[in-house]
């Protein structure tokens, strides 16, 4: 339905008086802002991003600093979320975990949607054998249980990569190669991306298949426009809507997968905090120190739900089917 602002513009003098054109993206955005839950989710996500970027500078404690004299303390004025069994400040760790989670989920979503968009649009536009092969591969990838694939990859890729990084460090002395947490991150991201791109590809393919037969694409072909222009200007922008929705949902599930991998001990390695490995540690002392579990689990749950709501909101805003009467 039309946003109130546009109504006003239109009814001023019967025509759209002000000359600023209302693009369909802008329009969707307006619609999104009308959705209370979506706005709330955006707020939560923005707070998450804020803490992910600035969080580590805001906390009074080093997330790695162990202090055995205060191990396993419940929440207090000094440590708002208490301390863990090595005497580290849980709040600082949760906030640093936000950074891990955000980094992983953002990169995962961006990379996997990129791959998915490329594969999906090629597959959908050209069809035929290319499509058959790409979709065969995608289906195959999808059929492989993602956690299992992730685990297999994480277990088998890590040693050679870690070896390679060490070699790189010793030959270049570049401290980047020193950060095993970077390797963990990269690995987790690669592992999740390797399985996460499939839904994007499938989604975009079916969208492209549909959009490909729309008359404006036929018209563009009839106009003799180059294939690349047709794909990038005519097909993808019109097929991308559901991908954006999927991206939002994908943020949440990437966070969950990351924490599942970390929970299984093959994701982010301690002492670098991730919500997954914090949950893993917290679970062991759930009865004696519930705050250790609750803090990361609640934040994780909140984020998943927020992204889920955001996805719903985007779906409503971008999906023309819902605009009807």
């Amino acid at each position: 339905m039309a946003p109130a602002s546009t109504i006003k513009k239109l009814t001023d003098d019967g025509v759209t008086a002000d000359e600023k054109a209302i693009g369909i993206w802008r329009d969707s955005f307006d619609r999104l802002l009308k959705n209370k839950m979506a706005v709330l989710s955006i707020a939560v996500v923005v707070i998450l991003f804020f803490f992910a970027i600035f969080g580590p500078y805001l906390t009074p404690y080093d997330f790695l600093k162990q202090d055995l004299s205060i191990r396993g303390q419940p929440p207090s004025a000094d440590h708002w979320l208490g301390t863990d069994n090595l005497g580290r400040d849980v709040l600082s760790r949760v906030i640093y975990g936000a950074r891990t989670a955000t980094l992983v989920s953002l990169l995962v979503v961006v990379l996997s949607s990129l791959i998915g968009v490329v594969v999906g649009s090629i597959s959908g536009y050209f069809g035929g054998k290319v499509d058959f092969f790409l979709m065969w591969f995608t289906d195959l990838n999808m059929a492989f249980p993602n956690l299992v694939l992730g685990v297999v990859l994480a277990v088998s890729l890590r040693p050679p990569l870690s070896r390679w990084m060490e070699q790189m460090y010793l030959s270049t002395l570049n401290p980047v190669f020193r950060q095993s947490s970077l390797l963990d991150l990269a690995l987790v991201i690669v592992v999740i991306v390797l399985v996460a791109w499939c839904p994007y590809a499938r989604l975009l393919r079916s969208q492209v298949m549909a959009v490909r037969n729309y008359n404006y694409v036929l018209a563009a072909r009839a106009l003799g426009l180059p294939t690349f222009t047709i794909v990038t200007k005519y097909i993808i922008p019109n097929a991308i809507g559901p991908v954006i929705v999927q991206m939002s949902a994908g943020m949440g599930s990437a966070m969950l997968t990351e924490s599942a991998l970390s929970f299984l001990g093959i994701g982010i390695q301690p002492p670098i905090p991730s919500w997954g490995n914090m949950i893993n540690e917290g679970l062991r002392q759930w009865t004696s120190a519930p705050h250790l579990l609750m803090a990361p689990a609640l934040v994780l749950g909140l984020m998943t739900v927020a992204f889920s709501f955001l996805g719903d909101g985007l779906n409503d805003a971008l999906n023309p089917r819902q605009w009807k009467g």
Partner: protein, 324 residues
């Protein structure tokens, strides 16, 4: 003839959408006599379908009847409770929809759907309903109905489906059938078949028909009276001969002269046309912007670019002819 079957007075229906209201039907009054065929003509978005859906209270949730009265056999349809209106729907008023493909449930057989209303309106057993279905299908000219009742809608061709739809509307022998653009989705040869069938059935069964269409020529041979709608109001109502011979309202005139066939005899080079576009309320998803802009068509009809304004038609009052 002559006895009033349905009498609608000042019907107003509005669509509600996030804080704004659109009057899709804005004070419509008309009547249908027993056994009479009323043609309702108008362009898309003029409110002709909404009017009929309002009567049977089949509007989408966002729409709401604001005021008015609709006496059907002496009872006000708009004031009935849910149970009563259900008895009217299908039982006393049959409906035929535009698109027979989407209007049949794709996963149920034709036999399941056509005679279904008998089970609930007439308390017929399943066997009786099925037997009646076969009769009905034979009545509307579907060959080999005993076998075809086991078919699913997609196994019927478009024309067959519309025939089945008509059979469905006739199931409980209603006094009135509302046909909402029943031939728009059909080819011209099939359209001719359906029109002939409806004419034939009307003459044999004496049922009153409200035939909604955007095609004036279609109702020329079919209707007794024609009602022209524009932007939620009736602009002209007349017997069919009067309307074609002597259109009073400029809009009607415009509609007629825009028909290429109408001018075929005169062999003109250019067609007369009504400038601008008819006001539309949200019937196209992408047109959502415009929908709300056009609250009341007559004063803000010029929502387009100035040189395409509808100036010749503006401020023209609706011309009501005496009811014959």
């Amino acid at each position: 003839m002559g006895e009033i079957l349905l009498d609608v007075k000042d019907l107003k229906t509005r669509f509600r959408s996030r804080g704004s209201l659109v009057h899709a039907v804005n004070g419509v009054s008309f009547h249908v006599n027993r056994g009479e065929t009323l043609g309702v003509v108008g362009e898309s978005g003029c409110g002709k379908s909404v009017t009929m859906l309002s009567l049977l209270r089949l509007l989408p949730p966002a729409a709401q009847v604001e005021s008015g009265r609709a006496l059907f056999e002496g009872q006000d349809l708009l004031k009935m409770n849910f149970g009563q209106i259900q008895k009217v729907r299908g039982g006393k008023i049959g409906l035929i929809f535009q698109d027979p493909m989407t209007s049949f449930n794709p996963v149920l057989t034709i036999g399941d759907q056509v005679g279904e209303s008998l089970i609930y309106h007439r308390r017929a057993s399943k066997e009786v309903a099925l037997k009646r279905t076969v009769e009905l299908l034979r009545l509307v000219g579907i060959p080999d109905p005993e076998q075809r009742i086991k078919d699913y809608p997609h196994q019927f061709s478009g024309g067959m489906r519309q025939r089945a739809m008509i059979a469905m509307a006739l199931a409980c022998e209603p006094g009135l059938i509302i046909a909402d653009e029943p031939t728009t989705a059909l080819d011209v040869t099939i359209q001719a078949q359906i029109v002939e069938l409806v004419k034939d059935l009307r003459d044999r069964l004496g049922v009153a028909i409200i035939w909604i269409t955007h095609d004036l020529s279609l109702v020329a041979g079919l209707a007794d009276r024609i009602m022209v709608m524009y932007a939620g109001t009736i602009v002209e109502e007349a017997t069919v001969e009067e309307l074609f011979d002597d259109p009073r309202h400029p809009y009607t005139l415009g509609l007629l002269s825009a028909l290429p066939a109408f001018q075929a005899e005169k062999n003109v080079r250019r067609l007369a046309s009504i400038p601008g576009s008819p006001p539309i309320y949200a019937n196209r998803p992408l047109l959502a912007h415009f929908s709300c802009a056009v609250l009341s068509p007559w004063n803000v009809a010029s929502q387009n670019y100035p040189h395409y304004s509808r100036s010749p038609l503006e401020k023209m009052p609706a011309i009501a002819r005496p009811v014959l």
